[in-house]
Protein backbone atom coordinates (compact mmCIF):
# COMPACT_ATOMS: atom_id res chain seq x y z
CA UNK A 1 0.00 0.00 0.00
CA UNK A 2 1.38 3.33 -0.97
CA UNK A 3 -0.12 5.93 1.29
CA UNK A 4 2.80 8.32 0.82
CA UNK A 5 1.55 9.63 -2.52
CA UNK A 6 -1.74 7.83 -2.66
CA UNK A 7 -3.85 7.51 -5.76
CA UNK A 8 -7.37 8.22 -4.57
CA UNK A 9 -10.59 7.08 -6.25
CA UNK A 10 -13.97 8.43 -5.21
CA UNK A 11 -16.75 6.06 -6.21
CA UNK A 12 -19.91 8.09 -6.64
CA UNK A 13 -19.19 11.79 -6.59
CA UNK A 14 -22.41 13.29 -5.32
CA UNK A 15 -22.31 15.81 -2.48
CA UNK A 16 -20.25 13.72 -0.03
CA UNK A 17 -17.83 12.25 -2.55
CA UNK A 18 -17.54 15.50 -4.43
CA UNK A 19 -16.76 17.50 -1.30
CA UNK A 20 -14.20 15.17 0.29
CA UNK A 21 -12.57 14.36 -3.04
CA UNK A 22 -12.31 18.07 -3.78
CA UNK A 23 -10.63 18.70 -0.42
CA UNK A 24 -8.04 15.99 -1.17
CA UNK A 25 -7.40 17.36 -4.68
CA UNK A 26 -7.19 20.89 -3.25
CA UNK A 27 -4.31 19.68 -1.09
CA UNK A 28 -2.34 18.16 -3.95
CA UNK A 29 -3.56 14.57 -4.11
CA UNK A 30 -4.31 12.70 -7.32
CA UNK A 31 -8.06 12.16 -7.11
CA UNK A 32 -10.19 10.21 -9.59
CA UNK A 33 -13.93 10.82 -9.47
CA UNK A 34 -16.35 8.23 -10.82
CA UNK A 35 -19.43 10.30 -11.66
CA UNK A 36 -22.69 9.66 -13.37
CA UNK A 37 -24.79 12.67 -14.10
CA UNK A 38 -22.47 15.64 -13.82
CA UNK A 39 -19.33 14.20 -15.40
CA UNK A 40 -19.31 16.37 -18.51
CA UNK A 41 -19.84 19.56 -16.48
CA UNK A 42 -16.99 18.61 -14.15
CA UNK A 43 -14.70 17.73 -17.09
CA UNK A 44 -15.42 21.08 -18.67
CA UNK A 45 -15.52 23.39 -15.67
CA UNK A 46 -13.99 21.49 -12.76
CA UNK A 47 -15.48 21.60 -9.26
CA UNK A 48 -16.63 24.56 -7.17
CA UNK A 49 -17.10 24.36 -3.43
CA UNK A 50 -18.85 27.14 -1.60
CA UNK A 51 -17.81 26.54 1.98
CA UNK A 52 -18.43 28.33 5.26
CA UNK A 53 -14.68 27.76 5.78
CA UNK A 54 -13.81 29.55 2.51
CA UNK A 55 -14.81 28.92 -1.09
CA UNK A 56 -12.49 27.18 -3.51
CA UNK A 57 -12.48 25.90 -7.08
CA UNK A 58 -10.61 23.14 -8.85
CA UNK A 59 -9.92 23.63 -12.53
CA UNK A 60 -10.48 20.58 -14.77
CA UNK A 61 -6.73 19.84 -14.97
CA UNK A 62 -6.58 19.30 -11.19
CA UNK A 63 -9.16 16.51 -11.12
CA UNK A 64 -9.70 13.26 -13.00
CA UNK A 65 -13.28 12.60 -14.01
CA UNK A 66 -14.43 9.13 -15.08
CA UNK A 67 -17.79 8.20 -16.48
CA UNK A 68 -17.06 4.49 -16.35
CA UNK A 69 -15.32 2.46 -13.66
CA UNK A 70 -13.23 0.70 -16.33
CA UNK A 71 -10.93 3.70 -16.72
CA UNK A 72 -10.19 4.08 -13.00
CA UNK A 73 -6.55 3.49 -12.03
CA UNK A 74 -5.56 0.92 -9.45
CA UNK A 75 -5.94 3.00 -6.31
CA UNK A 76 -4.40 3.15 -2.87
CA UNK A 77 -7.39 4.77 -1.22
CA UNK A 78 -10.93 4.17 -2.45
CA UNK A 79 -13.71 6.29 -0.96
CA UNK A 80 -17.12 4.72 -1.54
CA UNK A 81 -19.83 7.39 -1.53
CA UNK A 82 -22.54 5.97 -3.80
CA UNK A 83 -25.97 5.71 -2.27
CA UNK A 84 -26.84 2.37 -0.73
CA UNK A 85 -29.77 2.17 -3.14
CA UNK A 86 -27.14 1.38 -5.80
CA UNK A 87 -25.41 -1.32 -3.71
CA UNK A 88 -26.38 -4.00 -6.21
CA UNK A 89 -23.77 -2.37 -8.50
CA UNK A 90 -21.13 -1.97 -5.78
CA UNK A 91 -18.75 -4.70 -6.96
CA UNK A 92 -18.63 -3.63 -10.62
CA UNK A 93 -18.15 0.04 -9.78
CA UNK A 94 -15.23 -0.57 -7.43
CA UNK A 95 -13.47 -3.68 -8.74
CA UNK A 96 -11.44 -1.94 -11.49
CA UNK A 97 -9.75 0.29 -8.90
CA UNK A 98 -8.87 -2.47 -6.44
CA UNK A 99 -5.32 -3.78 -6.10
CA UNK A 100 -3.63 -5.93 -3.49
CA UNK A 101 -3.17 -3.25 -0.86
CA UNK A 102 -6.10 -0.94 -1.60
CA UNK A 103 -7.84 0.53 1.42
CA UNK A 104 -11.58 0.75 0.73
CA UNK A 105 -13.40 3.24 2.95
CA UNK A 106 -17.17 3.10 2.73
CA UNK A 107 -18.69 6.38 3.74
CA UNK A 108 -22.22 5.22 2.93
CA UNK A 109 -25.11 5.52 5.31
CA UNK A 110 -26.38 2.91 7.68
CA UNK A 111 -25.65 -0.73 8.30
CA UNK A 112 -24.43 -3.55 6.10
CA UNK A 113 -22.10 -1.76 3.69
CA UNK A 114 -18.80 -2.97 5.18
CA UNK A 115 -20.16 -6.51 5.25
CA UNK A 116 -21.11 -6.35 1.59
CA UNK A 117 -17.73 -4.93 0.57
CA UNK A 118 -15.94 -7.53 2.69
CA UNK A 119 -17.74 -10.29 0.78
CA UNK A 120 -16.53 -8.88 -2.52
CA UNK A 121 -13.03 -7.65 -1.67
CA UNK A 122 -12.03 -9.25 1.63
CA UNK A 123 -12.56 -7.92 5.15
CA UNK A 124 -8.91 -6.83 5.53
CA UNK A 125 -9.31 -4.16 2.85
CA UNK A 126 -12.39 -2.52 4.35
CA UNK A 127 -12.79 0.52 6.57
CA UNK A 128 -15.87 2.51 7.45
CA UNK A 129 -16.08 6.29 7.56
CA UNK A 130 -18.91 8.34 8.99
CA UNK A 131 -19.21 11.84 7.65
CA UNK A 132 -20.67 14.48 9.94
CA UNK A 133 -21.10 17.24 7.47
CA UNK A 134 -23.75 19.60 6.09
CA UNK A 135 -23.38 19.58 2.33
CA UNK A 136 -25.68 19.69 -0.68
CA UNK A 137 -24.99 19.50 -4.36
CA UNK A 138 -26.32 22.77 -5.71
CA UNK A 139 -25.59 22.31 -9.41
CA UNK A 140 -23.37 20.46 -11.88
CA UNK A 141 -19.89 20.40 -10.32
CA UNK A 142 -21.07 22.70 -7.54
CA UNK A 143 -21.23 21.85 -3.86
CA UNK A 144 -22.44 23.92 -0.94
CA UNK A 145 -20.72 23.12 2.37
CA UNK A 146 -22.60 24.85 5.13
CA UNK A 147 -21.23 23.30 8.30
CA UNK A 148 -19.12 20.68 10.03
CA UNK A 149 -17.07 18.11 8.13
CA UNK A 150 -15.67 15.55 10.56
CA UNK A 151 -15.02 12.00 9.40
CA UNK A 152 -14.93 9.22 11.99
CA UNK A 153 -12.86 6.37 10.60
CA UNK A 154 -12.64 2.78 11.76
CA UNK A 155 -11.29 -0.56 10.59
CA UNK A 156 -13.93 -3.18 9.76
CA UNK A 157 -11.91 -6.11 11.14
CA UNK A 158 -9.84 -5.52 14.21
CA UNK A 159 -8.79 -2.23 15.75
CA UNK A 160 -6.96 0.72 14.21
CA UNK A 161 -3.42 0.27 12.98
CA UNK A 162 -0.71 2.06 11.02
CA UNK A 163 -2.91 2.22 7.89
CA UNK A 164 -5.78 3.78 9.79
CA UNK A 165 -3.59 6.46 11.29
CA UNK A 166 -1.99 7.24 7.92
CA UNK A 167 -5.37 7.72 6.23
CA UNK A 168 -6.43 9.96 9.10
CA UNK A 169 -3.23 12.01 8.62
CA UNK A 170 -3.92 12.41 4.91
CA UNK A 171 -7.45 13.60 5.65
CA UNK A 172 -6.45 15.92 8.48
CA UNK A 173 -3.74 17.47 6.30
CA UNK A 174 -6.42 18.15 3.66
CA UNK A 175 -8.70 20.22 5.93
CA UNK A 176 -10.83 17.17 6.65
CA UNK A 177 -10.97 16.68 10.42
CA UNK A 178 -10.67 12.94 11.05
CA UNK A 179 -11.00 10.90 14.23
CA UNK A 180 -9.92 7.28 14.40
CA UNK A 181 -12.42 4.99 16.08
CA UNK A 182 -11.46 2.01 18.21
CA UNK A 183 -14.80 0.40 17.42
CA UNK A 184 -16.43 0.97 14.04
CA UNK A 185 -19.75 -0.60 15.06
CA UNK A 186 -20.02 1.96 17.87
CA UNK A 187 -19.54 4.73 15.33
CA UNK A 188 -22.07 3.28 12.90
CA UNK A 189 -24.74 2.98 15.57
CA UNK A 190 -23.94 6.44 16.91
CA UNK A 191 -24.57 7.87 13.44
CA UNK A 192 -27.82 5.90 13.22
CA UNK A 193 -29.00 7.51 16.45
CA UNK A 194 -29.07 10.70 14.41
CA UNK A 195 -29.98 9.41 10.94
CA UNK A 196 -32.94 7.25 11.98
CA UNK A 197 -35.04 10.12 13.37
CA UNK A 198 -33.82 13.08 11.35
CA UNK A 199 -33.54 11.47 7.92
CA UNK A 200 -36.72 9.49 8.54
CA UNK A 201 -38.99 12.17 9.95
CA UNK A 202 -37.42 14.80 7.70
CA UNK A 203 -38.39 12.81 4.61
CA UNK A 204 -41.75 11.68 5.92
CA UNK A 205 -42.91 15.12 7.00
CA UNK A 206 -40.80 17.07 4.50
CA UNK A 207 -39.38 19.15 7.36
CA UNK A 208 -35.89 20.46 8.00
CA UNK A 209 -34.05 19.52 11.20
CA UNK A 210 -34.80 22.82 12.94
CA UNK A 211 -38.52 22.23 12.48
CA UNK A 212 -38.22 18.73 13.92
CA UNK A 213 -36.55 19.97 17.11
CA UNK A 214 -38.54 23.20 17.26
CA UNK A 215 -41.61 21.83 19.03
CA UNK A 216 -42.46 19.48 21.87
CA UNK A 217 -44.14 16.99 19.53
CA UNK A 218 -41.12 16.93 17.23
CA UNK A 219 -38.70 16.48 20.13
CA UNK A 220 -40.85 13.68 21.49
CA UNK A 221 -40.75 11.86 18.15
CA UNK A 222 -36.98 12.34 17.81
CA UNK A 223 -36.22 11.26 21.37
CA UNK A 224 -38.29 8.10 21.24
CA UNK A 225 -36.74 6.97 17.98
CA UNK A 226 -33.28 7.67 19.39
CA UNK A 227 -34.12 5.66 22.49
CA UNK A 228 -35.14 2.72 20.33
CA UNK A 229 -31.88 2.86 18.36
CA UNK A 230 -29.86 3.04 21.59
CA UNK A 231 -31.78 0.06 22.94
CA UNK A 232 -31.33 -1.93 19.72
CA UNK A 233 -27.58 -1.23 19.66
CA UNK A 234 -27.28 -2.54 23.22
CA UNK A 235 -28.60 -5.87 21.93
CA UNK A 236 -25.49 -6.24 19.78
CA UNK A 237 -23.14 -5.11 22.53
CA UNK A 238 -22.85 -1.47 21.45
CA UNK A 239 -23.62 0.63 24.51
CA UNK A 240 -24.52 4.29 24.84
CA UNK A 241 -25.60 6.28 27.86
CA UNK A 242 -28.95 7.96 27.38
CA UNK A 243 -27.24 11.36 27.68
CA UNK A 244 -26.21 10.89 24.04
CA UNK A 245 -29.77 11.76 23.06
CA UNK A 246 -29.58 15.24 24.54
CA UNK A 247 -26.09 15.69 23.08
CA UNK A 248 -27.35 14.84 19.59
CA UNK A 249 -30.24 17.27 19.92
CA UNK A 250 -27.92 20.06 21.06
CA UNK A 251 -25.62 19.27 18.13
CA UNK A 252 -28.59 19.46 15.79
CA UNK A 253 -29.35 22.97 17.03
CA UNK A 254 -26.05 24.09 15.51
CA UNK A 255 -27.11 22.88 12.07
CA UNK A 256 -29.88 25.38 11.36
CA UNK A 257 -32.56 24.55 8.81
CA UNK A 258 -30.82 21.45 7.47
CA UNK A 259 -32.39 19.22 4.84
CA UNK A 260 -31.22 15.66 5.33
CA UNK A 261 -30.27 13.62 2.29
CA UNK A 262 -33.48 11.63 2.59
CA UNK A 263 -35.64 14.75 2.66
CA UNK A 264 -33.87 15.81 -0.54
CA UNK A 265 -34.42 12.31 -1.97
CA UNK A 266 -38.12 12.75 -1.33
CA UNK A 267 -38.23 16.17 -2.92
CA UNK A 268 -36.34 14.88 -5.96
CA UNK A 269 -38.42 11.70 -6.25
CA UNK A 270 -35.32 9.56 -5.70
CA UNK A 271 -35.35 6.24 -3.82
CA UNK A 272 -34.72 6.31 -0.08
CA UNK A 273 -31.80 4.52 1.58
CA UNK A 274 -34.48 2.51 3.27
CA UNK A 275 -32.76 -0.73 4.15
CA UNK A 276 -29.41 0.72 5.21
CA UNK A 277 -30.81 3.32 7.59
CA UNK A 278 -34.07 1.75 8.85
CA UNK A 279 -34.54 -1.78 7.55
CA UNK A 280 -31.32 -3.30 8.85
CA UNK A 281 -31.53 -1.73 12.33
CA UNK A 282 -35.15 -2.90 12.53
CA UNK A 283 -34.09 -6.42 11.51
CA UNK A 284 -31.52 -6.35 14.34
CA UNK A 285 -34.22 -5.25 16.78
CA UNK A 286 -36.58 -8.00 15.67
CA UNK A 287 -33.87 -10.65 15.83
CA UNK A 288 -33.24 -9.72 19.46
CA UNK A 289 -36.91 -9.20 20.31
CA UNK A 290 -36.36 -5.54 21.14
CA UNK A 291 -39.60 -3.57 21.32
CA UNK A 292 -39.25 -0.77 18.76
CA UNK A 293 -42.75 0.24 17.63
CA UNK A 294 -41.74 3.73 16.51
CA UNK A 295 -38.86 2.45 14.39
CA UNK A 296 -41.12 -0.12 12.78
CA UNK A 297 -43.85 2.42 12.13
CA UNK A 298 -41.34 4.84 10.62
CA UNK A 299 -39.90 2.10 8.41
CA UNK A 300 -43.34 1.03 7.18
CA UNK A 301 -44.38 4.59 6.44
CA UNK A 302 -41.17 5.34 4.57
CA UNK A 303 -41.64 2.15 2.57
CA UNK A 304 -45.09 3.30 1.58
CA UNK A 305 -43.75 6.68 0.50
CA UNK A 306 -40.65 5.36 -1.19
CA UNK A 307 -40.81 5.70 -4.95
CA UNK A 308 -37.61 3.77 -5.26
CA UNK A 309 -36.70 0.65 -7.11
CA UNK A 310 -34.23 -0.40 -4.44
CA UNK A 311 -33.85 -4.15 -4.43
CA UNK A 312 -34.76 -5.55 -1.06
Amino acid sequence: MSLENPIVSVIGAGAVGGYYGARLAQHGHEVHFLMRGHASAAKKSGLRVRSHAGDFSLSPDRIHVHESADSLPKSDLILVTIKTTANHRLAELIAPAVKGDSAIVTMQNGLGNEELLAEYFGAERILGGMAFVCINRTGPGEISHTDHGLIRLGEFSGGPGERTRRIAEILNASKIPCEVLDNLAHGRWEKLIWNVPFNGLGALLDLTTDRLIGSEEGLSLVRRLMEEVVQTAANVGVRFGLEIIQQKIIHTQTMGAYRTSTQIDRQMGRPFELEAIWGKPLAVAKKHHAVTPELEMLYNMLRLLDTGTESR
Copy 2:
Protein backbone atom coordinates in the same frame (compact mmCIF):
# COMPACT_ATOMS: atom_id res chain seq x y z
CA MET B 1 -91.00 18.27 19.72
CA SER B 2 -92.58 18.18 16.34
CA LEU B 3 -91.05 15.39 14.38
CA GLU B 4 -94.14 14.97 12.21
CA ASN B 5 -93.27 17.85 9.91
CA PRO B 6 -89.89 18.72 11.31
CA ILE B 7 -88.04 21.90 10.55
CA VAL B 8 -84.50 20.78 9.93
CA SER B 9 -81.37 22.91 10.26
CA VAL B 10 -78.00 21.73 8.99
CA ILE B 11 -75.17 23.57 10.73
CA GLY B 12 -72.19 23.60 8.39
CA ALA B 13 -73.16 22.42 4.95
CA GLY B 14 -69.92 20.95 3.61
CA ALA B 15 -69.95 17.52 2.01
CA VAL B 16 -71.65 15.66 4.89
CA GLY B 17 -74.18 18.34 5.78
CA GLY B 18 -74.85 19.15 2.15
CA TYR B 19 -75.46 15.55 1.22
CA TYR B 20 -77.73 14.55 4.09
CA GLY B 21 -79.57 17.85 4.05
CA ALA B 22 -80.13 17.47 0.33
CA ARG B 23 -81.57 13.97 0.83
CA LEU B 24 -84.03 15.31 3.42
CA ALA B 25 -85.05 18.22 1.17
CA GLN B 26 -85.36 15.82 -1.78
CA HIS B 27 -87.96 13.94 0.25
CA GLY B 28 -90.06 16.97 1.04
CA HIS B 29 -88.64 18.24 4.31
CA GLU B 30 -88.04 21.89 5.11
CA VAL B 31 -84.26 22.10 5.37
CA HIS B 32 -82.23 25.15 6.36
CA PHE B 33 -78.55 25.12 5.50
CA LEU B 34 -76.09 27.30 7.37
CA MET B 35 -73.23 27.69 4.91
CA ARG B 36 -70.09 29.74 4.76
CA GLY B 37 -68.24 29.64 1.47
CA HIS B 38 -70.72 28.39 -1.07
CA ALA B 39 -73.89 30.12 0.13
CA SER B 40 -74.29 32.44 -2.84
CA ALA B 41 -73.82 29.62 -5.37
CA ALA B 42 -76.40 27.50 -3.54
CA LYS B 43 -78.84 30.42 -3.34
CA LYS B 44 -78.49 31.00 -7.05
CA SER B 45 -78.29 27.45 -8.41
CA GLY B 46 -79.43 25.13 -5.65
CA LEU B 47 -77.68 21.87 -4.88
CA ARG B 48 -76.55 19.08 -7.20
CA VAL B 49 -75.74 15.60 -5.95
CA ARG B 50 -74.02 13.14 -8.24
CA SER B 51 -74.72 9.85 -6.56
CA HIS B 52 -73.94 6.23 -7.38
CA ALA B 53 -77.57 5.67 -6.38
CA GLY B 54 -78.85 8.20 -8.95
CA ASP B 55 -78.09 11.90 -9.47
CA PHE B 56 -80.51 14.57 -8.31
CA SER B 57 -80.73 18.34 -8.09
CA LEU B 58 -82.58 20.72 -5.83
CA SER B 59 -83.60 24.05 -7.29
CA PRO B 60 -83.04 27.11 -5.06
CA ASP B 61 -86.73 27.29 -4.11
CA ARG B 62 -86.53 23.83 -2.49
CA ILE B 63 -83.79 24.73 -0.02
CA HIS B 64 -83.19 27.50 2.51
CA VAL B 65 -79.69 28.88 2.54
CA HIS B 66 -78.42 30.98 5.45
CA GLU B 67 -75.14 32.82 5.65
CA SER B 68 -75.63 33.73 9.29
CA ALA B 69 -77.01 31.64 12.14
CA ASP B 70 -79.18 34.57 13.23
CA SER B 71 -81.71 33.93 10.47
CA LEU B 72 -82.15 30.21 11.23
CA PRO B 73 -85.66 29.22 12.36
CA LYS B 74 -86.25 27.45 15.65
CA SER B 75 -85.73 23.87 14.52
CA ASP B 76 -86.99 20.44 15.50
CA LEU B 77 -83.98 18.58 14.18
CA ILE B 78 -80.53 20.16 14.10
CA LEU B 79 -77.77 18.30 12.27
CA VAL B 80 -74.33 19.53 13.30
CA THR B 81 -71.81 18.93 10.55
CA ILE B 82 -69.21 21.66 11.01
CA LYS B 83 -65.65 20.51 11.40
CA THR B 84 -64.44 20.06 14.95
CA THR B 85 -61.74 22.61 14.20
CA ALA B 86 -64.52 25.21 14.42
CA ASN B 87 -65.88 23.89 17.73
CA HIS B 88 -64.98 27.12 19.51
CA ARG B 89 -67.87 28.67 17.51
CA LEU B 90 -70.28 25.79 18.14
CA ALA B 91 -72.59 27.55 20.61
CA GLU B 92 -73.08 30.73 18.55
CA LEU B 93 -73.71 28.81 15.33
CA ILE B 94 -76.38 26.57 16.83
CA ALA B 95 -78.05 28.63 19.58
CA PRO B 96 -80.41 30.61 17.28
CA ALA B 97 -82.01 27.36 16.05
CA VAL B 98 -82.50 25.78 19.47
CA LYS B 99 -85.93 25.64 21.11
CA GLY B 100 -87.25 23.65 24.05
CA ASP B 101 -87.63 20.33 22.30
CA SER B 102 -84.94 20.53 19.63
CA ALA B 103 -83.05 17.33 18.94
CA ILE B 104 -79.40 18.17 18.21
CA VAL B 105 -77.56 15.43 16.33
CA THR B 106 -73.81 15.94 16.08
CA MET B 107 -72.42 14.12 13.09
CA GLN B 108 -68.92 15.45 13.67
CA ASN B 109 -65.84 13.27 13.81
CA GLY B 110 -64.21 11.84 16.88
CA LEU B 111 -64.68 12.27 20.60
CA GLY B 112 -65.90 15.12 22.75
CA ASN B 113 -68.54 16.74 20.56
CA GLU B 114 -71.60 15.46 22.42
CA GLU B 115 -70.02 16.51 25.70
CA LEU B 116 -69.40 20.01 24.42
CA LEU B 117 -72.94 20.36 23.06
CA ALA B 118 -74.38 18.98 26.30
CA GLU B 119 -72.58 21.71 28.23
CA TYR B 120 -74.16 24.38 26.05
CA PHE B 121 -77.62 23.00 25.43
CA GLY B 122 -78.26 20.24 27.99
CA ALA B 123 -77.53 16.54 27.66
CA GLU B 124 -81.17 15.63 27.03
CA ARG B 125 -81.18 17.43 23.69
CA ILE B 126 -78.07 15.72 22.31
CA LEU B 127 -77.69 12.73 20.00
CA GLY B 128 -74.68 11.49 18.09
CA GLY B 129 -74.68 10.31 14.50
CA MET B 130 -71.88 8.52 12.72
CA ALA B 131 -71.91 8.82 8.96
CA PHE B 132 -70.43 5.95 6.97
CA VAL B 133 -70.39 7.53 3.59
CA CYS B 134 -68.02 8.32 0.74
CA ILE B 135 -68.70 11.90 -0.31
CA ASN B 136 -66.67 14.88 -1.45
CA ARG B 137 -67.66 18.41 -2.28
CA THR B 138 -66.66 18.83 -5.91
CA GLY B 139 -67.67 22.45 -6.45
CA PRO B 140 -69.98 25.20 -5.21
CA GLY B 141 -73.30 23.51 -4.40
CA GLU B 142 -72.05 20.27 -5.90
CA ILE B 143 -71.52 17.01 -4.05
CA SER B 144 -70.20 13.70 -5.29
CA HIS B 145 -71.57 10.66 -3.44
CA THR B 146 -69.58 7.63 -4.47
CA ASP B 147 -70.56 4.97 -1.97
CA HIS B 148 -72.35 3.95 1.23
CA GLY B 149 -74.40 6.40 3.28
CA LEU B 150 -75.40 4.73 6.54
CA ILE B 151 -75.96 6.82 9.66
CA ARG B 152 -75.64 5.16 13.06
CA LEU B 153 -77.63 7.18 15.56
CA GLY B 154 -77.54 7.12 19.33
CA GLU B 155 -78.77 9.12 22.32
CA PHE B 156 -76.07 10.85 24.34
CA SER B 157 -77.77 10.25 27.68
CA GLY B 158 -79.62 7.02 28.18
CA GLY B 159 -80.73 4.53 25.57
CA PRO B 160 -82.86 5.01 22.48
CA GLY B 161 -86.46 6.09 22.86
CA GLU B 162 -89.43 7.28 20.81
CA ARG B 163 -87.51 10.34 19.59
CA THR B 164 -84.58 8.26 18.39
CA ARG B 165 -86.82 5.90 16.45
CA ARG B 166 -88.74 8.80 14.90
CA ILE B 167 -85.55 10.49 13.66
CA ALA B 168 -84.40 7.16 12.23
CA GLU B 169 -87.73 6.82 10.43
CA ILE B 170 -87.38 10.28 8.92
CA LEU B 171 -83.90 9.47 7.71
CA ASN B 172 -84.80 6.02 6.38
CA ALA B 173 -87.78 7.49 4.51
CA SER B 174 -85.38 9.97 2.87
CA LYS B 175 -83.03 7.36 1.35
CA ILE B 176 -80.66 7.69 4.29
CA PRO B 177 -80.18 4.25 5.83
CA CYS B 178 -80.19 4.70 9.60
CA GLU B 179 -79.46 2.28 12.43
CA VAL B 180 -80.30 3.10 16.02
CA LEU B 181 -77.53 2.32 18.48
CA ASP B 182 -78.10 1.11 22.03
CA ASN B 183 -74.75 2.54 23.01
CA LEU B 184 -73.45 5.70 21.38
CA ALA B 185 -69.96 5.38 22.89
CA HIS B 186 -69.61 1.99 21.22
CA GLY B 187 -70.49 3.58 17.89
CA ARG B 188 -68.08 6.48 18.38
CA TRP B 189 -65.18 4.17 19.19
CA GLU B 190 -66.07 1.86 16.33
CA LYS B 191 -65.83 4.78 13.93
CA LEU B 192 -62.51 5.77 15.48
CA ILE B 193 -61.15 2.30 14.75
CA TRP B 194 -61.45 3.32 11.11
CA ASN B 195 -60.76 7.07 11.28
CA VAL B 196 -57.61 6.89 13.38
CA PRO B 197 -55.58 4.86 10.86
CA PHE B 198 -57.15 5.87 7.56
CA ASN B 199 -57.61 9.59 8.15
CA GLY B 200 -54.27 9.77 9.95
CA LEU B 201 -52.07 7.79 7.59
CA GLY B 202 -53.98 9.07 4.57
CA ALA B 203 -53.16 12.66 5.51
CA LEU B 204 -49.64 11.96 6.67
CA LEU B 205 -48.61 10.00 3.60
CA ASP B 206 -51.06 11.68 1.21
CA LEU B 207 -52.35 8.26 0.16
CA THR B 208 -55.86 7.04 -0.62
CA THR B 209 -57.34 4.15 1.35
CA ASP B 210 -56.67 1.56 -1.39
CA ARG B 211 -52.97 2.42 -1.27
CA LEU B 212 -52.91 2.03 2.51
CA ILE B 213 -54.37 -1.47 2.40
CA GLY B 214 -52.60 -2.43 -0.83
CA SER B 215 -49.31 -3.53 0.71
CA GLU B 216 -48.07 -5.51 3.70
CA GLU B 217 -46.44 -2.44 5.27
CA GLY B 218 -49.63 -0.42 4.92
CA LEU B 219 -51.76 -3.19 6.39
CA SER B 220 -49.32 -3.55 9.26
CA LEU B 221 -49.60 0.16 10.05
CA VAL B 222 -53.40 0.10 9.82
CA ARG B 223 -53.79 -3.03 11.95
CA ARG B 224 -51.53 -1.87 14.75
CA LEU B 225 -53.29 1.48 15.02
CA MET B 226 -56.66 -0.29 15.05
CA GLU B 227 -55.42 -2.62 17.80
CA GLU B 228 -54.41 0.37 19.89
CA VAL B 229 -57.83 2.01 19.48
CA VAL B 230 -59.57 -1.27 20.40
CA GLN B 231 -57.36 -1.56 23.46
CA THR B 232 -57.96 2.06 24.49
CA ALA B 233 -61.73 1.68 24.12
CA ALA B 234 -61.63 -1.36 26.42
CA ASN B 235 -60.24 0.90 29.11
CA VAL B 236 -63.47 2.89 29.13
CA GLY B 237 -65.65 -0.22 29.04
CA VAL B 238 -66.27 -0.26 25.27
CA ARG B 239 -65.37 -3.73 24.06
CA PHE B 240 -64.67 -5.07 20.59
CA GLY B 241 -63.47 -8.46 19.47
CA LEU B 242 -60.29 -8.27 17.44
CA GLU B 243 -62.17 -9.67 14.42
CA ILE B 244 -63.48 -6.13 13.92
CA ILE B 245 -60.09 -5.19 12.50
CA GLN B 246 -60.37 -7.62 9.62
CA GLN B 247 -63.99 -6.58 9.07
CA LYS B 248 -62.97 -2.93 8.79
CA ILE B 249 -60.23 -3.77 6.31
CA ILE B 250 -62.62 -5.82 4.17
CA HIS B 251 -65.11 -2.95 4.29
CA THR B 252 -62.37 -0.57 3.19
CA GLN B 253 -61.72 -2.73 0.13
CA THR B 254 -65.23 -1.82 -1.09
CA MET B 255 -64.38 1.90 -1.01
CA GLY B 256 -61.87 2.03 -3.84
CA ALA B 257 -59.35 4.87 -4.00
CA TYR B 258 -61.01 6.93 -1.29
CA ARG B 259 -59.52 10.20 -0.05
CA THR B 260 -60.41 10.70 3.61
CA SER B 261 -61.49 14.14 4.76
CA THR B 262 -58.14 14.63 6.48
CA GLN B 263 -56.18 13.79 3.34
CA ILE B 264 -58.28 16.41 1.58
CA ASP B 265 -57.64 18.83 4.46
CA ARG B 266 -53.94 18.33 3.90
CA GLN B 267 -54.17 18.87 0.18
CA MET B 268 -56.23 22.02 0.69
CA GLY B 269 -53.99 23.36 3.47
CA ARG B 270 -56.88 23.25 5.95
CA PRO B 271 -56.49 22.43 9.64
CA PHE B 272 -56.80 18.80 10.70
CA GLU B 273 -59.46 17.54 13.13
CA LEU B 274 -56.52 16.69 15.31
CA GLU B 275 -57.95 16.68 18.80
CA ALA B 276 -61.29 15.02 18.01
CA ILE B 277 -59.84 12.08 16.08
CA TRP B 278 -56.40 11.54 17.65
CA GLY B 279 -55.81 13.85 20.61
CA LYS B 280 -58.80 12.85 22.71
CA PRO B 281 -58.39 9.07 22.18
CA LEU B 282 -54.70 9.46 23.04
CA ALA B 283 -55.62 11.37 26.20
CA VAL B 284 -57.94 8.50 27.16
CA ALA B 285 -55.11 6.01 26.57
CA LYS B 286 -52.68 8.03 28.68
CA LYS B 287 -55.19 8.46 31.47
CA HIS B 288 -55.57 4.68 31.67
CA HIS B 289 -51.88 3.96 31.11
CA ALA B 290 -52.60 2.08 27.91
CA VAL B 291 -49.49 1.54 25.79
CA THR B 292 -50.22 3.16 22.43
CA PRO B 293 -46.91 4.15 20.83
CA GLU B 294 -48.25 4.14 17.26
CA LEU B 295 -51.20 6.36 18.13
CA GLU B 296 -48.91 8.77 19.94
CA MET B 297 -46.43 8.83 17.08
CA LEU B 298 -49.21 9.42 14.57
CA TYR B 299 -50.65 12.24 16.69
CA ASN B 300 -47.28 13.95 17.05
CA MET B 301 -46.53 13.69 13.34
CA LEU B 302 -49.93 15.05 12.39
CA ARG B 303 -49.43 17.92 14.82
CA LEU B 304 -46.15 18.74 13.14
CA LEU B 305 -47.80 18.72 9.72
CA ASP B 306 -50.95 20.53 10.78
CA THR B 307 -51.13 24.00 9.37
CA GLY B 308 -54.21 24.67 11.40
CA THR B 309 -55.08 27.26 13.92
CA GLU B 310 -57.24 24.86 15.88
CA SER B 311 -57.39 25.91 19.49
CA ARG B 312 -56.10 23.15 21.73
